[in-house]
Symmetry: D2
Subunit: 236 residues, 4 copies
Amino acid sequence: MAKQKVCVIIGVGPGNGAAYARKFAREGYVIALLSRTTEFGEALLPELTEGSRALSCDASDPAAIERCLATIEADMGPVDVLLYNAGSGGGWGSPEETTMEQFELGWRVNAQGLLKAAQSVAPAMKTKGAGAIIITGATASRRGGARTTGFAASKAAQRSLAESLAKHFWPMGIHVALIILDGVVDLPRTRERMADKPDDFFVKADDVADLAWSLTQQPRSAWSFEAEARPFGEKW
Amino acid sequence: MAKQKVCVIIGVGPGNGAAYARKFAREGYVIALLSRTTEFGEALLPELTEGSRALSCDASDPAAIERCLATIEADMGPVDVLLYNAGSGGGWGSPEETTMEQFELGWRVNAQGLLKAAQSVAPAMKTKGAGAIIITGATASRRGGARTTGFAASKAAQRSLAESLAKHFWPMGIHVALIILDGVVDLPRTRERMADKPDDFFVKADDVADLAWSLTQQPRSAWSFEAEARPFGEKW
Amino acid sequence: MAKQKVCVIIGVGPGNGAAYARKFAREGYVIALLSRTTEFGEALLPELTEGSRALSCDASDPAAIERCLATIEADMGPVDVLLYNAGSGGGWGSPEETTMEQFELGWRVNAQGLLKAAQSVAPAMKTKGAGAIIITGATASRRGGARTTGFAASKAAQRSLAESLAKHFWPMGIHVALIILDGVVDLPRTRERMADKPDDFFVKADDVADLAWSLTQQPRSAWSFEAEARPFGEKW
Amino acid sequence: MAKQKVCVIIGVGPGNGAAYARKFAREGYVIALLSRTTEFGEALLPELTEGSRALSCDASDPAAIERCLATIEADMGPVDVLLYNAGSGGGWGSPEETTMEQFELGWRVNAQGLLKAAQSVAPAMKTKGAGAIIITGATASRRGGARTTGFAASKAAQRSLAESLAKHFWPMGIHVALIILDGVVDLPRTRERMADKPDDFFVKADDVADLAWSLTQQPRSAWSFEAEARPFGEKW
């Protein structure tokens, strides 16, 4: 019997993380869900492929990432797809309001954690000459705003790192891509906060998951690096 | 019986144009092939959906574009997908070598023709609140080089126009997207010119066509505007 | 007696054009003012260096540009600084509203005219191994908007061309640079149209002229290509 | 007697740092030189304005930056110009070779230190409604490369942060700008490493210092944010 493909999702919540899990499970992957606490992930397991697991992993701690990914590889097999969806804000607010702690946490989760995760899954992907690392970015990956100080700086570091990863790993057959999420994900808490917005205003997490999936399906003669997910009514 | 969807391809040759035609035909579209001369298009028709047609249309002549698209709409029905693939070089070489004629032709075909084509198909798309306009861009859409003077300037105008089209038409349900083709398409003539390059060096036109198709399938809560098609081994 | 340096300004009105003229005259240059009609230019001459001239030249006509620049070179000497400030709108409004005529005029004035002007002054600059070509761009040089269709497309072509010019001519000692004017120039007609705006809202043309001047003074080990001129209170 | 203006340089070595110091001293500023060790700075003092000082400050330590800048403000007066020139590599090499330590150090020095330094000088600048913060960036600020992993990621974070700083502080009269240094600075050690390169290949630190100076002199109706310093013969 052919071995099931393994998809690891770092950063699992009710938005993109859960949608990624459901989509890749539907496509036959066995899923490893990594998040600081496992409650949400465990509640999601019944919807996923048998053999999927929820693990506790703090994305701001490189040693924890390394350990978790080693466990997954030992127990579930080499990782085929890594979806890097961890995302601490990193500090909203102006440069004057942003604390050193927020600024550092954002960088640890958005940039440093990605480097460690990529380093951890790369050896097996290199052996196969195949694999995908898909990262959830944001509009802030492209520019800093007066009130997105810490978030934008960490997302910019992540984008630059994603580009370094792509330039290094693509020629080995490993597809690194960055989704630029340019909109607000449709969630109970965003709906509540923006109660005046119409349905069309929101990005559906399932649609972002379809984009992530389609990136992993691109033939290697025509890969995309940066892929926007923007609602049709968004101003940009 | 449900009406077949109509796909118009402006600029049809043995590369992306033919691949676009085959892909959208396989997906059930009836195809209108527009190019200066109809020989190539007519030879392709047997591979396409019944009812597909090849029309002579000079993309550097806005009146011709308008006329052709009116004919298509009258004979085949409103256009669902416009693939703008016309691409005169526009003048390779340095700014000193580029002639006014090359420079103008590039702009007419890459930029002005796109504006007229979009204006021609937009009314029917607006009525439906749906449709797609996918444009074949290039790395040169993003920057000018010392020896890409006319080509890059016309592709930059096209990219800017594509962005204006997107910002204007997206909220009406019309998906405008730009493919950044960052590589050399695999063709007998490019193979001959670059005989020392391995298979992996080239972009396969079928893979670009798959990308164009996937763009037309994106749900409107998560549309992409710019989508790269770059071989995995490409330096960038 | 040392020969006076020659500065040509293509596109002279009460904003940047006049400010460029005054600044370079103060710095000792003899000035050639090119615009469709010479009234404004002639009225400006008394403020400029002796020997300065106003010539009629339609920037949308490459032959006229070539002729004018040949006349200037014959009468005043080789051009040291070319300030390309011509700027027909090129069509404001949505892609549906923009006419072929507007779209073409914008491209002729913003892009084609620049190519011809650069080709005309380049030989003498190459002979000296020195010279400067400074172009007045805009925010729209960088992106297309829903209502800046023709203007943005022509400015994008201009920016790409400026980049090709820079990459080609810099190594010959000719400094090509693009000013990104990101704001509204302070003029009687803009003040009237935006009567509610404070002084600080506007870009002062004299300040843009200082920037153009400073670009021509950069030592060649540290040249800038793109230089923003943005009011300190501008949102971006 | 009018109080002398104060210029702080964080990161002082034989390249840009020393050139910044000499330039701003020539323009009448009293200079505070901050670097991990004070030997180089102290040796430079005799060339600078009387009252200039060299202080030991580790730019990877926010508390040290805060302390040093408080000392300077207490002893020398409020800071008029902050030149942020600190720059640990942050890890050259591929994503596989880059260690967590290198990656973190790069971010601390290039991004976190800038945030703390800006927070430290801002209150006095806000009180005056004037001041300048000029940051030495690099080509890597704009993109990640296969072998610039840690350096590029930290410079990208710095650039995004610089943009947030600019958008926040410009309206208060504080000019934040980023120099994109696109070339190799002319130094004994770079000359030795690239002994085959001609004089023209190198960026002269004095020319970068002139650019930094010119940015601080821009009138506020026409400020630049990003300013390239690129040798005229550079490929880009």
